[in-house]
């Protein structure tokens, strides 16, 4: 098991006028593991990911991925795959058309499009307009786009939203397979039961960091449910970081 952090957040803070969305977040995400970024709605998960990717500037602190800020990472688009709820498809595109746009931007061979369509179970839906796809298919398409460049790190924001039970099982298996290939997967979610079956490590945030460590340590090797520990952490008054 690698202990080199793939992602580091140091004192990361984001304020929107008088509202502090993320407050002094310091945590390392280990390479080659699936890490769940957990928190309630509005806990600062997506804002944290936006700052990590340079889409939003932090008020204080800094974030690095593979040792550099995203904007300074050589070939960042090829090394970090991203799927976020807030990122919609190109207006008017089909499934294949959407992937071809990003394949062109990345300078990849067109055949890669067919590969990721196969990997994400979108075969047969290539010519369907994205606007006519189900939520589950859109989630698969978002993951397909993230996988286009065969990245070392995957940052996925709420990838299980809108998935049916089959889709959730597919996502779980896919994330485990990706991690088994040595990739780092950071997945934000508030679906605790699902996360419990998928992740190796857990980061719990509720504006501030509430926990960072292994799932096994948090649940005492499975003696406690993640849900039980989660509510204990997020409902507790802000306190010092608990490191596993």
């Amino acid at each position: 098991m690698s202990t080199t952090p793939a992602i580091s957040l140091t004192g990361l803070t984001k304020k929107f006028k008088d509202v502090t969305a993320v407050d002094d977040l310091t945590v390392d995400i280990r390479a080659g593991r699936v890490t769940g970024l957990l928190g309630r709605n509005g806990a600062g998960k997506t804002t944290t990911l936006r700052m990590l990717l340079g889409l939003a500037g932090p008020t204080a602190g800094h974030a690095t991925v593979l040792g550099r800020p995203y904007g300074e990472l050589p070939r960042a688009a090829h090394r970090v795959g991203v799927a976020m709820d807030a990122i919609g498809p190109v207006t008017g595109s089909t499934v294949r058309g959407e992937l071809l746009v990003w394949t062109a931007c990345l300078g990849l061979d067109r055949r890669r499009t067919d590969e990721v369509i196969g990997l994400t179970g979108l075969t047969g839906a290539e010519d369907r307009p994205v606007s006519g796809c189900s939520t589950g298919m859109k989630q698969r398409l978002a993951l397909a786009t993230a996988l286009l460049a065969d990245p070392e790190v995957l940052v996925l924001d709420e990838p299980a939203n809108g998935l049916d039970p089959d889709g959730i099982r597919w996502l779980r298996d896919t994330l485990r397979e990706l991690a088994a290939e040595g990739r780092t997967v950071l997945v934000s979610s508030h679906q605790l039961a699902e996360v419990e079956q998928t992740v190796d490590d857990v980061v719990v945030v509720q504006r501030t960091l509430r926990y960072a460590g292994t799932l096994a340590d948090l649940t005492d090797g499975g003696a406690h449910r993640l849900e039980e520990r989660f509510f204990h952490l997020v409902d507790a008054p802000e306190r010092a970081l608990t490191h596993a």
């Binding site: 936006r50 889409l55 807030a86 990122i87 498809p89 207006t91 746009v101 931007c105």
Partner: protein, 246 residues
């Protein structure tokens, strides 16, 4: 950069926006064409110049530049509406590269609008008078007007794109462009023609060789347009690199 421009080109032709705008622009230009042909017939019958009528018909196709500017604005702002801009930024390497690529693609789209306007404008000049039994009278001036119509569309599209980066909202950007082109600039021209000649769309009037008084000479008009585009570029770049994306 070539990959990025390729990807942006793919985005630009995805969906129906581009051909709807071209169709709408063509429709409005044709309406003006029929008006000029009808009025021109009366003018020629009264002893007017057929060459003037042909030039008026050619000039009617300048309206395509409004649609070229809208295409540039929509190219940018629709990405803010869907959040696609976040992926565009992530894959571009830097926000500056994305700005350059989008501006280049918007300019190429403007050239397509310009070719359409100049081509159909030439055909309109040749055939619009036929139902009235009038013949076209192409002169050097006609071709200069059509060249100006092309140039205005080419320059209007990046203007729209840069305003799109500044405004970031599709409805606001479209409303701003229409208001500037159809209300603000002509209004300023009516009130203060000396000052208005430096406004972007009024400077474009010089380029497509409008016959109004108080217009800049063509080289100065190009300089004024370049000044507006440069200012918009720096404003767009500054705002794009400092504001949060989505």
């Amino acid at each position: 950069m070539r990959n990025l421009v390729h990807g942006e080109l793919r985005k630009a032709v995805t969906g129906r926006t581009w051909w709807i705008l071209m169709l709408a622009g063509t429709f409005l230009c044709l309406l003006s064409t029929f008006g000029f042909a009808s009025e021109g017939h009366k003018a020629v019958a009264a002893g007017g110049s057929a060459a003037d009528v042909t030039n008026d018909i050619a000039r009617a196709w300048m309206m395509m530049f409004l649609f070229a500017s809208l295409s540039g604005a929509i190219l940018v702002t629709r990405e803010y509406g869907t959040g696609t801009v976040a992926r565009s930024v992530l894959l571009a390497g830097s926000r500056g590269r994305l700005l350059a690529a989008k501006t280049a693609v918007a300019t190429a789209a403007g050239a397509a609008f310009g070719l359409l306007a100049a081509g159909l404008g030439a055909l309109a000049c040749a055939f619009a008078g036929a139902p009235y039994g009038d013949s076209a009278a192409f002169t050097r001036e006609t071709w200069l007007i059509l060249a100006g119509v092309f140039a205005c569309s080419v320059l209007a599209a990046p203007w729209g794109a840069l305003l799109g980066w500044i405004v970031r909202n599709q409805v606001s950007a479209v409303a701003l462009l229409i208001t500037l082109t159809l209300v603000v600039d002509p209004g300023v021209q009516a009130l203060a023609p000396e000052a208005a000649q430096y406004l972007l769309t009024i400077a474009m009037s010089s380029v497509y060789r409008d016959v109004k008084p108080d217009l800049l000479p063509v080289p100065w008009a190009f300089a004024a347009i370049a000044g507006w585009l440069t200012a918009a570029w720096f404003a767009a770049r500054r705002l794009l690199t400092t504001r949060d994306i989505v």
